[in-house]
């Protein structure tokens, strides 16, 4: 069964004047069809204003579709009775780590979600421990979030979502405000979740190198899904990616340039190791 399914999803931001008459309509999502199966690692790529964050907010019933439907765990997000079930099914991690940490101690923040769900005290402690261990933050459990680095804060946010035992995690540009080393640790934590815990992950980002290991990638532009496929398929088409103003990962780009100059390399090389191997084969 699909854990997330968006069918012909349309969303319009409607600006209204003082009398409430619509003055300006911006279509943020334009007939988007995306489906995610249990256990997949999905990357959603797009430049600023491509509608990728708007899409993310639909998965958590923060925004509702203007047209079309979104199913999360088989539930329609428009169904008011299921609102909290939808939200506990698809956990959400946002961009700014400071604005999503509620607790004054790391472990209390991770416990916030389970507290809201009415989980018994003893189980909260177990969930907090396992979630912090899953993101490698267990040793910081007694620290104040204000004393952590950006990457660590974001890992705490991920743990906070994990502790709610969601069926899938949606990460809305979790690395956009982090430095390179923070980005690396967060991406490693996310990959670990998918590999080890078999958690369904939807990673929304504009850094292409973060989704090299994804199962499937959707590329969005101006509210539409313009490309979809495996990373290899997507990264094979460098000219289109450049037209969409996306940064192609270094090794892919070098391989593409070399190929253009006549080196017989295969399409869609993703990592440096792969590139080295293929170049060696050419000799």
């Amino acid at each position: 069964m699909d854990i997330v399914k968006a069918e012909n999803l349309v969303f319009e931001y409607i600006r209204r004047d003082e009398e409430g008459n619509p003055t300006d309509v911006t279509t943020a999502l334009d007939h988007v069809n995306i489906d995610v199966r249990q256990g997949e690692f999905i990357g959603i790529l797009g430049h600023n204003g491509s509608g990728k964050s708007t899409f993310a907010k639909h998965l958590n019933a923060i925004l509702y579709p203007t047209e079309g439907t979104v199913y999360v765990g088989g539930m329609n997000t428009m169904d008011d009775d299921k609102l909290w079930d939808v939200r506990s099914c698809a956990g959400m991690v946002f961009q700014n780590p400071d604005n999503q940490i509620i607790g004054q101690v790391v472990e209390e923040d991770v416990g916030f979600g389970p507290e809201n769900l009415g989980v018994p005290t003893k189980e909260i402690w177990e969930r907090v421990e396992e979630s912090l261990r899953a993101v490698g933050m267990l040793e910081y459990r007694k620290k104040s979030p204000n004393k952590l680095s950006g990457g660590q804060k974001q890992r705490v946010s991920i743990a906070g979502v994990l502790a709610m035992h969601p069926k899938c995690i949606v990460l809305d540009e979790p690395t956009a405000m982090l430095d390179p080393s923070g980005r690396k640790e967060v991406v490693r934590a996310i990959r670990g979740l998918n590999d080890v815990e078999k958690m369904t992950v939807i990673l929304i980002t504009h850094y292409m190198d973060e989704v090299v290991h994804a199962d499937r990638i959707f590329v969005m532009d101006k509210g539409k899904v313009v490309m979809q496929g495996t990373p290899r398929e997507i990264f094979a088409d460098v000219p289109t990616l450049e037209k969409l103003r996306l940064d192609v990962p270094g090794p892919t780009r070098i391989a593409w340039e070399l190929k253009k100059k006549g080196l017989p390399l295969p399409d869609g090389i993703l990592t440096a190791e792969e590139l080295v191997k293929e170049i060696k084969k050419c000799r």
Binding site: N96, E108, N116
Partner: protein, 282 residues
Amino acid sequence: MIRDITIGQYYQTDSPIHRLDPRVKLLGTLLFIITLFLYKNPAGYAAGAVFLLAVIKLSRVPLRFITKGLKGILIVLLLTVIINLFLTPGTALISFWKFTITYEGVGVALTMLFRLTMLIMGSSIVTLTTTPNNLTDGLEKGLRFLKIFRVPVGDVAMMMSIALRFIPILMEETDRIMKAQLARGADFESGNIVKKAKALVPVLVPLFVSAFRRAGDLAMAMEARCYRGGDGRTKMKPLIYKKRDAIAYIILFSFVIFSVWIGRWQVINDFFNSLYLRYIIK
């Protein structure tokens, strides 16, 4: 400069007072303050002072930390003492020029001095020995009865704890905005008060804008984590009374009964009155 402000100062150490349930401490402070207004003779105040000093000793908070809290109200304290000293009518003790100090004035001034000092010291003990979080939890649970009057106790407690969490973040932000304005040639130091206040406007406006943005983001993040008001939530760290809290309650109530009894005991009142009368008659 801005970092010197600490709200709900907490002195970190381990002591029997620190480990008490916050509800015990809150009720204790309330009762202690009430008793201060029930005493009618110095013996009561002496009992209160002994109790207070014993608690301070037990809490392992250095005395200077507690007296620091008094500095803030030093002016209020002095003013109260001086006004009471000069303006209480009664038998003259000393008089010079237009001012007269009366026996009664000295009595009232001393009473006020002791009352206020002990009041401040007593209440700062609570914040010094309780983490802000614990304090909020204690308030939430202790004031739960207000729910009958439809007061959203849980939500208010949540607001308090979020406010406390954001104090350091907003401080940092203020610092950053001030530095940014300084780099653009803003001047926060010179000029009179009006000018200085005006110079702060370019700091406050962006600060408020960003605070509102943060609040919006935070609300969204809380909703995404299924926060739906105070009802139906469970607690990760629920407050549960332990044996030591029962003991503390017993000590507290015995102190209240004993000190009020001694503070209002007729025999002692008579004794002080007779002392006072004899001194004046002489």
